[in-house]
Amino acid sequence: MQNRNHRSQEHYVAPFEETPIASVDRLDDSQKARSTWADAWDAMRRRPSFWISSALIVLILIVAAFPGLFAQVSPTHCLLALSNGGPEAGHPLGFTRQGCDVYSRIIFGAQASVMVGVLATLLVTITGVIIGALAGYYGGFLDTFVSRIGDIFFAIPTVLGAIVLMSVLPERTPATVALVLSIFAWPQIARIMRGAVLSARNSDYVMASTALGVSKFRILIRHVVPNSIAPVIVVATISLGTFIVAEATLSFLGIGLPGSVMSWGNDISQAQTSIRTNPQILLFPSAALSITVLSFLMLGDVVRDALDPAARARR
């Protein structure tokens, strides 16, 4: 290459004290060891939304488990005389159309609603993770078969399928509602898990472990699953919220929990007719439900941001 320009520049060397060079690739001993989970935890605990949503969730779970601690008035103690009454001492949120205490119905109603959400999420996550992991890892016929089955269930939108199934079921309990919902919702988690497993399966550390002589099954359990579980956790957290909404929708349509079971969905549904006269009895249980769902969604978002590798790189 010819020297096209006549301006040749001098040879400049930076002063050595200003540009000290470190030894090549030295390990920085000063920092504490941190796994990816510890790293994610660290990122999460800095966010106020994490603390707010976690606190709310813990509170709601306690309320669902021990409603008696929070409400002294019995929710089934209803006097028609008090129908649609406003708030008074000992009854901060007033009375329903049947004269039941709104506040205590909300407290006691938490149990059914939350139970449906938690149960459905557990069922969906366990089935989805197992099926998705096996299909993605072992591939072949198992994968094709499972994927087709998943496609078929996926083709029926969750609540639509639930409507059909609930219409023919003789018995309706929170457990049955949860089961019915999870029957149609498992393909989503299975797909996510399968996708994550597929990409983990092709990673170099799996190849390295195989070449080192680690058994195929052990690689699945020890390497592939832990590295694939992150997106599932995010979706499961968010799904918990959407399951609670789904139960409310089914109850609103009259094929969710039977009227005898206290739940937010039922209360909202029964309050329909009073919307013009006494909107509070519809709005309060709605608010309770929304706050619950909101906290799960918020937590899901925070967890996703904490586990997202791209966001982690930017930290």
Binding site: L160, I163, V168, T249, V293
Partner: protein, 309 residues
């Protein structure tokens, strides 16, 4: 592209049969008398029961039952309602109304959702973004029927800007409020999705190259960032159709719209199992076909899919 289309159609067929079979199976093969189960406490007149029994061929082997059932579908025979009307007639009358409602809702959620998501993604961390996030979270947390009641109350009763129930002809103007209700949850998801997509694409290498070429910021955002961010949104729309259908049941119920959803709503409330099953079976078929169309649209938007094996 032709090959891709053919492959997709081929994949759709087992899903179509599988899903309809599953519905049929759920209804008719659980222990007990399916007719009693379907009708619960409100059995119709004995003549209607006879028609239904014959229609569902309950004396034949199960597989034959299903095949006859599906065969009937293809011939337009979807069963009979409680009052003796043919389901296909009811469907034919109701479908256009729901189509209008769905189109409006799709328009709102897609156009507004993408716009809000785009602005939020461009201004990540600023107040618009934060409020968009909060609003979208709220919309997902509040069940559609609650949104429906509240808006119906506020805009229909208190402010009187809209009708609280929709007339039987259901023109577009009356469907605006219901469409907003129907679109609200999907709108929220689309805002979140677009926002994340835009924010990712803003840091993409090809966006940097586009900027380096000397293109105006506006062009870089619309032609490169937005265009590439649309792809996941389109995929989402396909899946979201399912929740739109559920939402239609609720929304049409609240606003008393005589669409497909409203019919299902009333049928569920009245305990009319067979109508519910037939309608939902049709909805599932629509869902499967719509997803096929979305897949094709996706291939149009992303040339890598078109040309892949």
């Amino acid at each position: 592209m032709l090959w891709y289309t053919g492959k997709r159609i081929l994949q759709m067929i087992p899903v179509f049969f599988g899903a309809t079979f599953l519905i049929y199976f759920m209804v008719f093969s659980l222990p007990g008398d399916p007719i009693a189960a379907l009708y619960g406490d409100h059995p119709p007149s004995p003549q209607v029961i006879e028609t239904i029994r014959a229609h569902y061929n309950l004396d034949k082997p199960f597989i034959v039952q299903y095949l006859l059932y599906i065969g009937g579908f293809f011939q337009g025979d979807l069963g009979t309602t409680y009052s003796g009307r043919a389901v296909s007639d009811v469907m034919a009358a109701a479908f256009p109304i729901t189509l209008r409602l769905a189109t409006l809702a799709l328009f709102f959620e897609a156009v507004l959702g993408v716009t809000v998501g785009l602005i939020a993604g461009l201004r990540k961390g600023k107040w618009f973004d934060a409020s968009a996030l909060v609003v979208s979270l709220l919309l997902i947390s509040v069940p559609t029927f609650v949104i429906g009641f509240v808006l119906q109350f506020v805009f229909g009763v208190q402010l009187g800007w809209a009708r609280t129930t929709v007339s039987s002809e259901a023109p577009y103007s009356e469907l605006i409020l219901p469409a907003i209700v129907l679109a609200s949850v999907s709108f929220a998801y689309i805002v979140r999705l677009t926002r994340a997509s835009v924010s990712d694409n803003l840091n993409a290498d090809f966006v940097r190259t586009a900027t380096a070429k000397g293109l105006s910021r506006r062009r870089v955002v619309t032609v490169h960032v937005l265009r590439n961010s649309l792809v996941p949104v389109v995929t989402f729309l396909g899946v979201d159709l399912g929740s739109l259908m559920v939402g239609a049941i609720v929304t049409e119920g609240i606003f008393n719209i005589n669409g497909v959803g409203g019919t299902v709503y009333r049928a569920v409330k009245l305990g009319e199992g067979p109508t519910v099953v037939s309608f939902i079976a049709v909805m599932v078929i629509i869902f499967v076909v719509a997803n096929l169309l979305v897949d094709l649209l996706y291939a149009l938007l992303d040339p890598r899919i078109r040309y892949a094996k």
